[in-house]
């Protein structure tokens, strides 16, 4: 399959089950909402070393937030509910509670509820106040008002936790590092407009794709040598001779459809640049079934034969 002269490999991205949540962060203005959200989603690129994968999903207007202030929504994913709860509480306490004017609210409905401000309230040292109030839909929600030095920190007691998918991905292969990066930036710009997904790596792009396992027994992941351009002659490479750079876009999302659609949008944004922009191929992280049960077949996603 070729689009605009760019070869689409007949392969699939392999993704795994995660637990996810959404938190709405508001503040006096967007600048301070971003300060809190950036801190909360910092050091959250991969569950391998960070515990969670997190990112800013989108900006919210005053009309879209519970307290009528501007804000952003963030999505956070972990391999299990216990880690997600632990990380959410820690990050709430260190990144949102501490940020001037910031408040946090539940951003997703679910029968499974996890603590947002439930335990943070004890920071109030007995002066915290619980308020149970109907939301815009008339459903009672429980909030905590915790006295802090800039006034009050407001947080909803819990937020929803849902089943989610992590590790959707595609690889962009091209003639040079700047050209591949420019193509990835175009993909990220297009994908950032979509709901229910995040691209957790720096700028949404990762250059250190991994394979499962290593020659070193203590390492459970190591560099994806088949896609490393400088090893083309030394390993069983997946690259043609004129490919000099490969970058990956990893996607975590709430549903299979959300991830599949975001991959389509991202790949199409790359292909719109055409082969003349130095992009040779689109491929995907396929680990032969060792990683997870969700297979995102590139040809099927792009509407071609698989």
């Amino acid at each position: 399959m070729k689009i605009n002269g760019i070869q689409i490999d007949d392969t699939y991205a392999e993704a795994f089950n995660m637990r996810g949540t959404r938190v709405l962060i508001t503040a006096q203005n967007l600048k301070w909402a971003y300060h809190a959200a950036n801190a909360m989603t910092g050091f959250a690129t991969s569950v391998i070393g960070c515990g969670v994968e997190a990112g800013i999903e989108r900006e919210l207007t005053e009309a879209q937030t519970p307290d009528g202030r501007p804000g952003v929504s963030i999505l956070m994913f972990a391999m299990g509910s216990k880690v997600l709860m632990q990380q959410l509480e820690t990050r709430m306490g260190q990144c949102v509670l501490t940020c001037p004017t910031a408040a946090a609210f539940s951003g997703i409905d679910s029968e499974d509820q996890i603590s947002l401000g439930k335990n943070l309230r004890y920071f109030g040292d007995g002066y915290q106040i619980a308020k149970q109030l109907p939301d815009a839909n008339g459903i009672n929600q429980r909030y905590w008002r915790i006295p802090v030095m800039d006034g009050e920190f407001i947080t909803q007691e819990t937020t929803g936790m849902v089943r989610a998918i992590g590790g959707g991905n595609f690889l962009v292969l091209g003639k040079s590092q700047p050209q591949v990066l420019a193509a990835c930036e175009a993909a990220i710009d297009a994908m950032k407009k979509l709901p229910n997904i995040i691209m957790p790596f720096p700028g949404g792009v990762v250059r250190s794709g991994s394979k499962v396992g290593s020659k070193y027994p203590k390492m459970f992941a190591s560099t994806n040598d088949a896609f490393c351009p400088t090893l083309k002659g030394a390993v069983k490479t997946a690259l043609d001779l004129d490919i000099e750079s490969v970058m990956e876009i990893v996607i975590d999302g709430l549903t299979f459809e959300d991830i599949a659609f975001s991959m389509k949008v991202g790949i199409e944004a790359v292909c719109n640049l055409g082969a003349d922009a130095g992009i040779q191929r689109i491929s995907a992280g396929n680990y032969g079934g060792k990683l997870g049960p969700h297979l995102f077949k590139l040809h099927a996603i792009l509407g071609g034969s698989s």
Binding site: D135, Y143, G151, I154
Partner: protein, 222 residues
């Protein structure tokens, strides 16, 4: 479904305890059942009210006066709207739901209230919010003597400056974004409370003769 409506008949000249006219007593009853119910005073409901409508989660009192006491007593859910004045003990021991009084209320409004929203567009008598344990009580008009007497937790929201209370401590004037959440919860009411927008309030904590974890918020212009 239309609101279950109690229209007071003329001639009431003594206090009438209305504590049984809440959702938990009235749900799933026909109008005939309700009219035959006995109130605390041994009067039948039909002796004093014309009953219409069917939705017991939305109860309306019409042509009311200050003889009607204990409206919303121990109510747990639903909404009560009083389209006029009412008497003492409005929302006493309230456990949930909401009450909107469009007129004045008598003494001890919100007495020992534990949860829910109680809104009074007019004035209140003495001991407003006495021993209130939690929840939100809003008053647009003037409040009587002994405001928040023995109040433990919860929020008393006032649009008119209260008289100073010896057992309440002034915590200063503040911009409180939380009030936007509170106002959003008022937006469900056809009421002056739905028009509130100021997030600046003078805050007192009390009643410090007890645990002192309650607050009075007197709304200031932004």
């Amino acid at each position: 479904m239309t609101a279950l409506t109690f229209t007071l008949k003329n001639g009431l000249t003594h206090q009438l305890d209305c504590r049984r006219l809440t959702n938990q007593f009235l749900a799933d009853h026909t109008i005939a059942d309700i009219e035959a119910m006995t109130l605390e005073s041994h009067h039948k409901v039909a002796d004093w009210f014309t009953v219409s409508g069917s939705d017991a989660s939305n109860i309306v009192f019409k042509q009311t006066n200050s003889y009607l006491t204990h409206i919303g007593h121990q109510m747990t859910k639903g909404r009560i709207t009083i389209e006029g004045d009412c008497g003492d003990y409005l929302g006493q021991r309230m456990q949930g739901g909401s009450i909107l009084c469009k007129g004045n209320a008598g003494d001890r409004a919100g007495d020992k209230m534990r949860r829910g929203i109680l809104l009074i567009e007019g004035n209140t008598g003495d001991y407003c919010a006495s021993s209130l344990m939690a929840g939100t009580l809003g008053v647009m008009g003037f409040t009587g003597r002994y405001l928040g007497y023995g109040m433990k937790r919860g929020t008393l929201l006032l649009a008119k400056q209260p008289t100073e209370q010896a057992t309440w401590v002034d915590c200063g004037s503040h911009h409180l974004p939380f009030l936007k959440l509170l106002y959003q919860s008022f937006s469900h009411f056809d009421s002056q409370f739905a028009k509130l927008s100021s997030t600046r309030a003078q805050r007192w904590m009390g009643d410090i003769s007890g645990i002192g974890k309650a607050e009075i918020l007197f709304l200031n212009p932004d």
